[in-house]
Symmetry: C2
């Protein structure tokens, strides 16, 4: 009898391979934040569409591990009579295996989808991990989407600011300095940066799925599907040897004998460790040196960010002027603007900008209580009207030819109640406290995180997400390695770093508030750095308790709004300009009047 469900198919496969269990992670070989449909085995198996999770299939049970964010969603998407739901972090799969399976149970896994620490934890669970030697899903996944084959384009020198050849020589020097023979790179944005290319395998993630091997001389072999290169001028990658992705692990093994191969300690597939060790080579676990080179932007990249933020700011102002005019009118007419309509209109305004490519992430367009969910995305089922009685939160950004933007504004269209005003003011004060903070060179994000939370803490409140993340240069919206969060992050914030600053406050089933600017880190007093804003969008001050702002805070807001007005007024639509002037009027002049 042919198995008719994915679960049945996997169990049949397990039987033919003599497995007691099979791990099915939501992961690709690049540990991408966004998974291509081809790689989303977890969704195929379970129906779960969240961005993190892991299934363990056994002969008579099936378990799905998801984190705290997804405990509600998973109940809607997954047949919980078939899949037992467990907590990904509180009860890790390896702990479950240690406690419930007999020692020596044969657990199959794909070594290209698992990183070393996960493998070590699996070994420590006393099972017998069985590395599957090829992707076993091809055989059993009917109608599996094809592997993505997005076209790769060049990032020309006038936008990247440094030639790929020079970057490769910098990497080669780093390998020589570290006495490492080879560096194997699997992180798509590191490869894109190194080769000055961009990809299109996954929407809004403009990086190519591929692998790369570079040696101490800078000699580089790029393992990439040749079809993706059809529209790339070969001159753009002159001197780089091209090989098919399937050849990558084997080539690492060929090269590794007697050599030292650097692998990223957090992101390299354990398949590479197996290849190096089987060949008699030595693994040097470290952070991929490209991660840090990429994180410190050069002057051309920085100018690109600034230019793309001027474009994005103009699109925002056109959108906000339209919203402020239309929300009350449409509500009064009994045909209120909805989240989805606003989101679509905003996309149109962005598309009017010549350098706009695509959104940089799925827009959060959230009215009223929908904004209480930090990661809400509107759908026809959840679509709410935007009204004068509630906050409307918009978190969106664009990929532009020369940069990537990410900003959030929380807007109002009429007077709101005292708690909403107080909480909005606290979020604003936290935002201002951090964006105005100078700090010694070398300061790390976790040292600064509390600064943005203090006004909320003083009310006995907090928010349950990070305060800021890196943003790639026409690249990933969440770029590593720096973060501003409670959790320790060892990477310093240095001039040339690009971060967001985005405190918020969320009252379950009531409302959500977030104010986010993207910033660059620039030099300040000797030995000090500070943030300089990239985002140029008026901040809604209509709900601020002005009496709670300090003089310093008012000065910053007035200076910021003056910068926004002067920069954007030549760029915005004629009918948005009057709104821009009103929205950026001096707070101190108003207060004194």
């Amino acid at each position: 009898m042919q198995p008719t469900t994915p679960l049945g198919a996997l169990r049949a496969l397990m039987q033919t391979r003599g497995l007691d269990g099979l791990l099915v992670p939501r992961a690709d070989a690049h540990q991408s934040e966004d998974c291509a449909p081809h790689d989303n085995k977890l969704a195929w198996l379970t129906g779960f569409t969240g961005s993190a999770g892991l299934a363990l299939v056994l002969a008579d049970r099936a378990l799905l591990f998801v984190d705290g964010r997804y405990q509600v969603q998973v109940q809607h998407e997954v047949d919980t009579r078939v899949f037992e739901i467990h907590h990904l972090h509180n009860e890790p799969v390896t702990q479950w295996i240690a406690e419930h399976l007999a020692p020596g149970a044969r657990i199959g896994f794909e070594p290209l989808l698992m990183v070393n620490s996960q493998y070590e934890a699996l070994c420590a669970s006393r099972c017998e991990p069985v590395a599957l030697d090829s992707d076993p899903f091809d055989a059993v996944w009917q109608d599996r989407p094809a592997a993505p084959c997005g076209a790769i384009t060049a990032m020309p020198l006038e936008l990247s600011g440094e030639s790929s050849a020079d970057k490769r020589q910098r990497v080669a020097q780093a390998l020589r300095d570290a006495a490492v023979d080879y560096l194997a790179i699997t992180l798509p944005d590191n490869i894109a940066w190194l080769l000055n290319v961009r990809g299109s395998d996954v929407a809004m993630s403009p990086v190519p799925h591929s692998f790369l091997l570079i040696d101490q001389q800078g000699d580089t072999e790029w393992f990439v599907a040749p079809e993706k290169l059809a529209s790339l001028d070969p001159a753009a990658i002159a001197g780089v040897m091209i090989s098919p992705p399937q050849a990558f692990v084997g080539r690492v093994a060929e090269r590794a004998a007697g050599r030292v191969v650097a692998l990223d300690a957090d992101f390299s597939p354990v398949a590479l460790r197996f290849a190096v060790e089987a060949a008699g080579g030595t693994v040097r676990w470290q952070s991929d040196p490209v991660t840090w080179m990429k994180a410190l932007k050069n002057p051309v990249e920085l100018e690109g960010y600034r230019a793309s933020h001027r474009e994005d700011g103009a699109a925002w102002v056109n959108f906000l002027a339209w919203l402020q005019r239309e929300v009350p009118r449409r509500e009064a007419a009994g045909d209120p603007i909805t989240e989805l309509e606003a989101q679509e209109k905003q996309r149109e305004f962005r598309q009017q900008r010549a350098s706009f490519i695509e959104p940089s992430f799925t827009t959060i367009s959230a009215a009223g209580s929908n904004a209480a969910m930090c990661h809400y995305h509107s759908s026809p089922e959840t679509n709410r009207p935007i009204t004068r009685g509630e906050f409307y939160l918009n978190d969106s950004g664009g990929q532009y030819l020369n940069g990537t933007t990410d900003a959030t504004r929380t807007l109002s269209f009429g007077p709101l109640d005292a708690p909403r005003r107080l909480h909005y003011t606290a979020v604003l004060k936290g935002f201002l406290a951090l964006i105005t903070l100078p700090f010694p060179n070398g300061t790390q994000g976790h040292q600064l995180d509390a600064v943005a939370r203090r006004p909320l803490w003083e009310l006995g409140l907090d928010f349950d997400h990070g305060t800021g993340h890196g943003v790639g240069h026409r690249m990933l919206i969440h770029e590593l390695p720096q973060r501003i969060a409670k959790k320790v992050n060892p990477w310093p914030l240095l001039p040339g770093s690009i971060m967001t600053i985005e405190p918020g406050y969320y009252l379950a089933e009531q409302y959500g508030i977030r104010i986010e600017n993207q910033v660059e880190v620039v030099k300040a007093a000797p030995g000090f750095s500070r943030f300089s804003t990239l985002t140029l969008i008026p901040i809604d001050l209509s709900q601020v308790e002005i009496g709670l702002l300090s003089e310093q805070e008012k000065v910053w807001l007035d200076d910021y709004h003056q910068q926004v007005r002067e920069t954007l007024s030549p760029l915005v639509d004629e009918d948005a300009r009057a709104w821009l002037f009103a929205a950026t009027a001096s707070l101190r002049v108003q207060t004194e009047a």
Copy 2:
């Protein structure tokens, strides 16, 4: 020929034992911050008296490793023709060994004086570490001071708040929960807490040098010199087996066969690891569980801290009133008060308090440029007059029967210039920012450190020490594990924790400013904690730029000074009371007037 210098004696000893090198750390078996003269082999060998350092003696060279604080001092104290000076952290001794000695060089060390991480680093340097089986210095150190033999006294239940028997049962439960058979304790303050005793082996460190072994039933063996117990009522330690300290390592070995022995990962001598492993036991590296039990003070201990701070506050006020009266008078008379005279006078005022025992650390009494050195101690050679034209910094505290105090005030006796006023105001604002901060339960010190630095950072300035440390209960002035500093500290600040808050600013060869209060962590809004002051001493506001203070800051200062005035006015001398009233007058009333 008899060797005539310590260095010569050690080289002769090395020859008889076939050693290529010998490590001489500034350490005792308890990794104490303050070393007894008996244990200060490094001072005997080199003349260096700093609180951290390490010598490596070779046949033809001798190296002394000291950290950044001591690079100047070492030049004065040590014959640098004999000892090459190296940097303790930038060029660790193990790195030096790896780079300069032949692999397999036999390096002698005392395993009671070395912790495991130091031993691992030594092994990684490719030398052959040779554990010396007994203290080899006894034979060669002529006139070696005797081992300290300070009397041990009981800390009665009405002061400790929990019986030793109950504490030992809590430890036993923790061992059962962790599936550990034995806990070996070498930290003197953990033993003092567990047994409700105090010691006197080192001045101002009221803890006994001893060792302790406790098992899952709470059965306890205390390895302590019996002479120290002469004045201790045996009932105070009923049920505890007493053995000589020399029996400790052997007993651990006896007990360890087939058992799990918990050792403190950071502080246990590697001698214990050797003993456990040689006996076929298993080491469980962890933090000594007593460290954390001790860190969360019980209500009786907390009330003791508060009471001792009232006593100490009264002594401070009497002292400050005297200073404010006498400094201008004596300067005018051409016979200014000096640092040493002030320090002695302050001790007299403390000695008038019935519960005062001794200073809790060496007083820092620093006038003018002497205060620019954070860890300055006055001597007849450095003693400076206290004058109207300069700041005077006093950092001091007392051991009281029921608690330990630590506070700093920076004082002035006449108008100072604008930079001094600005910097004093910045330090005060940093102090206020942190002491008024509520924070979510579980917050760690490194998350809060920047809050106290921000006003300095805004001036492009900073200070190069931690912002706060734990304080023991009639115990060590620097108590682990929590700290507020830039460096990551994983231990949360929780209700019952005792900390200092002590930002400062130091301008080399000019002046130093520090304001320090001791605080307890108390509950705040649900899920939140905050600091509550223990220290009750007026803060000098005469040099504050009042216009730079926020309303919130003025409110805190007024409330604080009201609390100081109301609490202390019944306790201070008659002639100090008028000064107390003036020094605690409301800032807002003054400002409005």
